[in-house]
Amino acid sequence: MKWGKGGATFIRKSVFVFLSWIICTTILSIAYSSNVITDAVLGNWTIINLLYMNHYLWIGFWIIAVVMPEMKRG
């Protein structure tokens, strides 16, 4: 299995996704700490539940948007 141009594209894309994930997590954390997202809004979720779900979504996104195209490209 080849990773684009020697794997460099894959790594760049992965870093890009990783940075976006960090930004998204930061936004959610700041929103919660500043009460933009309140416990009442979360209902029976906690912020931990929300962040977990965030992580799973980004992992899924990374696989779909980065890993799978690279695998197809071979």
């Binding site: 594209t9 760049r12 894309k13 890009f16 996704v17 976006s20 930004i23 998204c24 936004i27 959610l28 929103a31 997202i37 416990d39 009442a40 809004v41 979360l42 209902g43 029976n44 979720w45 906690t46 931990i48 539940n49 929300l50 977990y52 779900m53 965030n54 799973y56 979504l57 980004w58 992992i59 899924g60 996104f61 696989i63 779909i64 948007a65 980065v66 890993v67 799978m68």
Partner: protein, 399 residues
């Protein structure tokens, strides 16, 4: 294949969102508490790290009594002695000779058995005679002054104020007039002072009438504690605060009654019951709050739940002639972070004392392994993460 596996784990995660932080911390044993006076019970949950849910007695000081609004009462005041604000009935220069001066309200069905509290102060008194001066509180079926009711043989009872010559001290006595006769009780040597606020509690239970006067509202060491056995178990409807004497000899007096609370009565209105909290571990499939009434039912029994915003606006009420229950599902529980539960028992049968074996119970169960997916968090995720993912995807495609 990988996508399928990832999606599988994501779905598993959705179904296994831990509610550990939202579990309810309730004793594993039943907590049974009786309350015989007006109390608020607060149930709340708060989905944070230290979440608890349960029923908690509020401090007595947190109770918001329901006071009578004197501005809704009706005056008979040809001489212009009376004035009112919402919580205070004031009389200025009310004269012993005043005819038909009173402020009244009808409380049909509520005055056979009751506990009424109020505060009372005399601000000025003409002390040139020892005699009956006025009635701070009278209960009667005939709206009239004291003497006309007495002479006319119209039953009345309540609190009577007597003054003393050469002294501004006065007495508050229990009195009844029946068939033209006056009956009263009280220690006339135990006198009260002008410009001092006194707390008064008048209780009627059948023919037993009791008056407590104290310097504070706990009545633990009353200044006056008088009892009078009435000549009939009256069930009459008017309460007069104040009532003029209409007797010979001009003598003026000024003062006020305030914060009249008829919130606790027997036969008319009572709050009484037993509260249970239930072991959640035994009810792990339940995700709701159930309140209800068991035991010996009385007519017109009521349970109300109030929102967190105030203690007066109820959103759920159970009226089922004393028996019934209603289940509040978690959506409702989560909608209101604080629930006030107030148990109101009313009965129209004055011969009975409300009694319930198990007035009130509730339990809340949480299934720790299968939470529902809340709409708001999903929306948050989709909006924030979705936007960033779209931007990220555009960036990735350029590379």
């Amino acid at each position: 294949m990988l996508v399928v596996i990832i999606c599988y784990f994501m779905i598993q995660e959705l179904n296994n969102i831990s509610f550990a932080n939202c579990d309810y911390n309730i004793s594993s044993v039943y907590q049974k508490t009786e309350f015989n006076t007006t109390k608020w019970v607060q149930a709340y949950h708060n989905c944070t790290l230290n979440t608890t849910i349960g029923l908690f007695y509020l401090d007595e000081s947190a109770i918001v009594p329901i006071y009578d609004d004197f501005t809704t009462w009706i005056e008979s005041d040809a001489s212009g002695r009376l004035s009112q604000t919402s919580k205070r009935s004031t009389f200025i220069n009310l004269n012993r000779i005043d005819d038909n001066i009173y402020l009244y309200v009808a409380k049909a069905g509520e005055l056979q058995n009751f506990v009424a509290t109020s505060r009372f102060k005399i601000t000025a008194i003409d002390n040139s005679a020892t005699t009956i001066r006025m009635m701070p509180l009278t209960i009667t079926d005939t709206r009239d002054d004291y003497t006309d009711n007495k002479v006319g043989g119209k039953p009345q009872f309540g609190i009577q104020l007597r003054s003393w010559s050469s002294s501004t001290a006065y007495n508050l006595l229990l009195y009844e007039t029946n068939s033209g006769n006056l009956y009263y009780t009280g220690d006339t040597s135990n006198r009260l002072n002008v410009n001092v606020l006194y707390y008064v509690r008048l209780t009627k239970s059948g023919t037993a009438l009791n008056l407590l006067v104290d310097n504070d509202d706990d009545f633990s060491s009353p200044i006056n504690n008088y009892n009078l056995v009435l000549h009939s178990n009256y069930n009459i409807q008017y309460i007069l605060i104040p009532q003029s004497a209409q007797a010979s000899g001009a003598l003026s007096i000024s003062g006020y009654s305030e914060y009249l609370d008829f919130g606790l009565t027997t036969g008319g209105y009572e709050e009484k019951g037993v509260i249970y909290t239930k072991d959640l571990l035994a009810n792990t499939t339940e995700k709701s709050l159930i309140i209800g009434i068991n035991g010996t039912a009385q007519s017109n029994t009521r349970i109300r739940l109030y929102t967190s915003t105030d203690n007066t606006t109820w959103f759920i009420q159970i009226d089922n002639n004393g028996l019934g229950q209603q289940e509040l599902y978690e959506e409702i529980l989560y909608e209101y972070s604080t629930l006030y539960v107030r148990v109101n028992i009313t009965t129209t049968d004055n011969a009975k004392t409300p009694y319930l074996d198990e007035l009130f119970y509730y339990y809340v169960g949480v299934d720790g392994d299968s939470g529902t997916i809340a709409a708001y968090p999903i929306a948050i995720i989709l909006i924030i993460c979705g936007s960033l993912m779209a931007l990220t995807y555009v960036g990735i495609r350029k590379r």
